[in-house]
Amino acid sequence: MIDVRNLSKKFDSLVVLDNVSFTVGDAQLVVILGPSGTGKTILLKSILGLSPVDGGEVIFDGISIQKAQEHELYNIRKNIGFVFQGTALFDSMDVVDNIALPLCEHTSISRREIANKVVKILHIIGMSGRGKLYPRSLSGGMKRLVAVGRALALDPKYLFYDEPTTGLDPIMRERVVQLIIELKKKYGKSGIVVTHDLETAKAVGDEIYMLKKGKIGKLTHVGKEVYNG
């Protein structure tokens, strides 16, 4: 379980997070909805300990991210896959090496076993046969799928998605949404989806929160009017 407690952060006088609290249960996808520039990505990075906070804490399965030592933090992060908005794929590596990297770094399994795992992940994300392509040869949607594949490599308990469908055409958007749903239902991946897209939020979210002007609130109904309130 991920327990976010009273997270606060501000840049000079601009309050980005104001006592933000919510919980992510097992096999649950929580959506953080909000207009662009409200601090959703900062929230996600703060939860992971990538961005320091001014107050509050995040408890991952009983361990506080803010109080964890560096090695404890790294152990926690092995249980989290992060899909960046800009994908952050390593452009000097092909698709296979991008997905294999966490396995090479954190496991002692043989190269053959790693190759088998990568093939399995490529199948899950629908990219079989494209392992030798480099990120520069992929479309935006394909990069997003590979980023999900890389996040899956260590079979993490949680997946964080930062704007997973932004900038995609409707067909690729639907493909990514279905992948997120499949990963939750079939593989039990909990996590957080940060998006400004109402349709994505409605499709994938078990619980939907609205982040606006630093404050967070749970939504019971999702419609275009949530951006106006």
Binding site: L50, K78, F84, G86, L89, L101, E105
Partner: protein, 245 residues
């Protein structure tokens, strides 16, 4: 940036990169790649620089001393000049221009495209993954390049003296061996080790700390080379004081 806090940040960054926990299994390939890139990749330009360094030094030294001292002195003067100063410093400045800038640009691009954040989220320490192989790679490659440059420069100087100044190889060689001091050779190597750390630390530091976009990455590459070059000259003086002063 305040000069003293900048020096502190730079030093802390270097120590953190060098003493990060690591395993040979996961880092070996990246170290080998860096040794190859820095060592083999820099070899052609280093050889060209060494050839002309040897030739120019011989021409100008002979202009100053021939006729006033025995001719074998040309061999000892050139060899000592190359081993103590010209070999280490010219090699370091060339490698700095070629490698510190590329390190800063590559790591800086990874910073602005969130690839370093991606390493962190995958529980991969970026200091170990990115910086340590470059530091070790430069540490191994630069002294070897320096020795090669010294050999090429002295050989070219000997050839020029033989064919154009009518100083036979054995006379030139007598000068080199008769006035050879191990301290000259090893003093130059000590310099190249310090220069290696300076080059790798500058390239990694300015790349790692980039904030912004393409323009800032370009600035980081320039800053890395300028800082490395200045620090090479500063360390050159300090080490000269300690070893030869």
């Amino acid at each position: 940036m305040n000069l003293f806090s900048g020096i502190g940040d730079f030093s802390f960054f270097f120590v953190r990169s060098l003493f990060v926990p690591w395993h040979l299994k996961t880092t070996r390939d990246r170290i080998v790649h860096q040794i190859y890139y820095i060592g083999i990749g820099s070899l052609p330009i280093i050889v060209v620089i060494a050839i002309f360094t040897g030739l120019v030094s011989t021409v100008q030294t002979s202009y100053q001393i021939i006729g006033t001292v025995p001719r074998y002195i040309l061999g000892s003067t050139l060899a000592r000049m190359v081993m103590i100063e010209l070999g280490p410093i010219l090699t370091a400045l060339m490698v700095s221009g070629r490698c510190a800038s590329s390190m800063a640009a590559e790591i800086g691009t990874m910073r602005v495209t969130e690839q370093i954040d991606a390493l962190e989220t995958m529980a991969i320490n970026p200091y170990r993954f990115l910086n340590l192989p470059r530091i070790i790679g430069t540490f191994v490659a630069l002294p070897i390049l320096t020795v090669i440059a010294e050999f090429v420069a002295i050989a070219c100087g000997a050839a020029y003296a033989h064919f154009f100044l009518e100083i036979p190889f054995d006379v030139f060689n007598y000068g080199i061996t008769h006035y050879f001091f191990a301290r000259d050779f090893f003093g130059g190597l000590v310099k190249s080790v310090f220069f290696a750390f300076v080059i790798a630390a500058s390239g990694c530091y300015f790349g790692f700390t980039v904030q912004g976009g393409a323009k800032e990455v370009g600035k980081a590459a320039t800053l890395a080379v300028v800082t490395a070059s200045i620090l090479i000259l500063v360390f050159d003086f300090l080490i000269a004081l300690v070893i030869f002063g």
